[in-house]
Symmetry: C3
Subunit: 276 residues, 3 copies
């Protein structure tokens, strides 16, 4: 997977994000840290045009509104025309009708290259009945060893239905394009105490897809997911060593991404493939 | 007050914030750090629905606009119907007619459980003539030992008029529900060099009210105010020890909140009750 | 230049920013760190009124939209009426027609005291053909020793055309009011891995102009540019010493600004004047 990692470093992919204002700064900084370059533009008068100069488009429905939904549709459709990868983060799908419907409409009108969410969000967009606790996964939905198989089946089904690589992140992350399925066992529970780790991963996924070939999208999304998780482990460890809290851990997370080499990552990532 | 603190840790209250985009990320991270869980949603098409799944609603009028004022009203009214606590931060009330009128309209149409602001903002919403320096309190309004009594009287009057717990934060913080009045002598002047310490405290107040009983709202707001102030002291101290500046102090503030135990807090908080 | 620096510290200039939501928190924190005070307000119903109580107005077109363009025009015109300095950051001008046209319209309808951008943005607003890579300068446009003279000529021409101090930031920074031209050789390439260093400098320029006399605007903008660059050097050095990455460097940048004295700055700044 080394070429996938190096491609991001070497190509500095420009990623257009229409994303929520809660975590947008972290998304921009993590894109820079991983080797990409961010541009945020959410107005309908420029959304499609900005998409055209970028290598990928990331649509994140946290803090969405009527105005930005139209911009997301315009950007997504333009990216489809140009063959650029488009990534969806259905933040809070299931928490309100607006979010659920926006996610459904986006999936209906835009062909996504990747969709990343927690188990509750993915259940919702897969047409199921995901319960949510706001923007976090419901505990009822949490993946355990017992339910991992059903999570894999869900991800594979949504991938078949949409043609997108599907990533369900949680204690164990699942990434699949229906043909190839990866389980990633990186990350640390303390990451859930930092806002936006999901948004940041989605933004980075945009950079990883932009810099790599279509046939490598699932592998690229899996590697990127492992990168985020391993960086979280390193950040947690550093915070522990310095007796620091979640504020420092957030900073160390960006630090870890910005300093990551493939050699370090390959020593820490825990990616396995699932036999079908 | 230990049960008030532990309730937040144990219940992980979900707090809906319609808040300004300047400090929204800090509000989300401090909510997570104190034991709560944030969800930001400001569109009229989902505001009331998101409020319904949350334990508290926080309305902050920094960077408000016509669109979000309507969302605040819808969310606040829904929270009232459901009996959920609603907290107001009248950021910059007095600095523009839009803000003053928005604060007045919110107070008229929504029953608030708590209102937190600096002395100039509280003077303005109390129908007085608070002068402001932008979003900071005017020096003319600054509370000194001499004017503390008038600050207490102002807070008690606004509390009686609105039924809300009123918190005036400054060199000395005043928290009152008209029956019980607390003075909090925590905090450090350097906190004013970090944007959003007021917004963050208001967001945390939402979590503290959500997790506690109505009869404890004043005590919960007072404890939360002491928590913020004491965390600021610890953050300042750590920044001094490492010869760091305000960027690090902001990070250490979140660190301190995330690592706070009741034992530590009770050793550092300086809350006194005022005899009526 | 010491009085220019001390004026900011002593006058605590209030700066009204209508700025993008990606870097707005950093802009607020750096304004506080440098001695100013921020207020963000972008609604047409209060933009001009907020401008009136401030010492300077900063207009930044990153994440602009139809609503905020009108607010920028209203705020800029009000500042002109009052004789308050107005600073423009044409973020991404050249990357979309919306941004290019918004920048042109702002320059046509508002008299700016300063305009700061990268070489591609400044080429675009000067009516040239700046190529852009999103919000970063195109490599085709990058200033080298060979092209520095043409950069200076471009800045001087735009300054003559608009009456504004023009700052082009890059490997070498150019600041000119057409009469006096400064080259600043501070900064570190790693600053480009932190989002918003340009936005932050523009915000600080607002504070520096607000606190100083009109005849010192070019010197104030030059000093402020050197301050940002030197703080970036110190931040990079501290990050290197602690084996940290870009997350920490961002924090250290704010730290360095907040702790800067004129004595330290004068020992590190590399400002030279260009003979005409």
């Amino acid at each position: 997977m080394e070429h996938i990692f190096q491609n991001v470093q070497e190509k500095t992919p420009l990623v257009h994000c229409i994303t929520n204002y809660v975590t947008v700064n972290d998304c921009a900084n993590i894109l820079l840290a991983c080797g990409g370059s961010p541009i945020m533009a959410d107005d309908i008068d420029e959304a499609a045009e900005i998409t055209a100069i970028c290598g990928a488009t990331v649509l994140n429905i946290g803090t969405l509104n009527r105005r930005t939904i139209e911009s997301m549709l315009a950007a997504g459709k333009r990216a489809n025309e140009l063959g650029h990868p488009v990534v969806l983060d259905p933040v809070g799908a299931g928490a309100s009708a607006l979010r659920t419907q926006a996610a459904e409409r986006l999936i209906k009108e835009v062909r996504f290259s990747a969709i990343r969410g927690n188990i509750s969000e993915i259940k919702t967009v897969a047409g199921g009945t995901g319960s949510t606790k706001g923007v976090d996964a419901s505990e009822d939905d949490a993946l355990s060893a017992d339910t991992l198989a059903s999570g894999v089946a869900l991800a594979q089904k949504l991938s078949k239905d949409t043609g997108a690589v599907v990533a369900i992140t949680g204690a164990v992350d699942i990434v699949t394009d229906a043909k190839q399925t990866y389980l990633i066992r990186n990350g640390h529970p303390a990451m859930s105490k930092i806002t936006g780790t999901g948004c940041m991963l989605t933004a980075m996924t945009g950079a990883y897809l932009a810099a790599n070939r279509k046939e490598d999208y699932a592998a690229a999304a899996a590697l990127c997911t492992a990168l985020m998780g391993y960086a979280g482990e390193l950040a947690y460890q550093k915070a522990q060593e310095s007796d620091a809290g979640t504020g420092s851990m957030r900073t160390y997370l960006i630090d870890a991404i910005s300093k990551m080499t493939y050699e370090t990552l390959s020593g820490g990532m825990k990616i396995e493939t699932v036999r079908s």
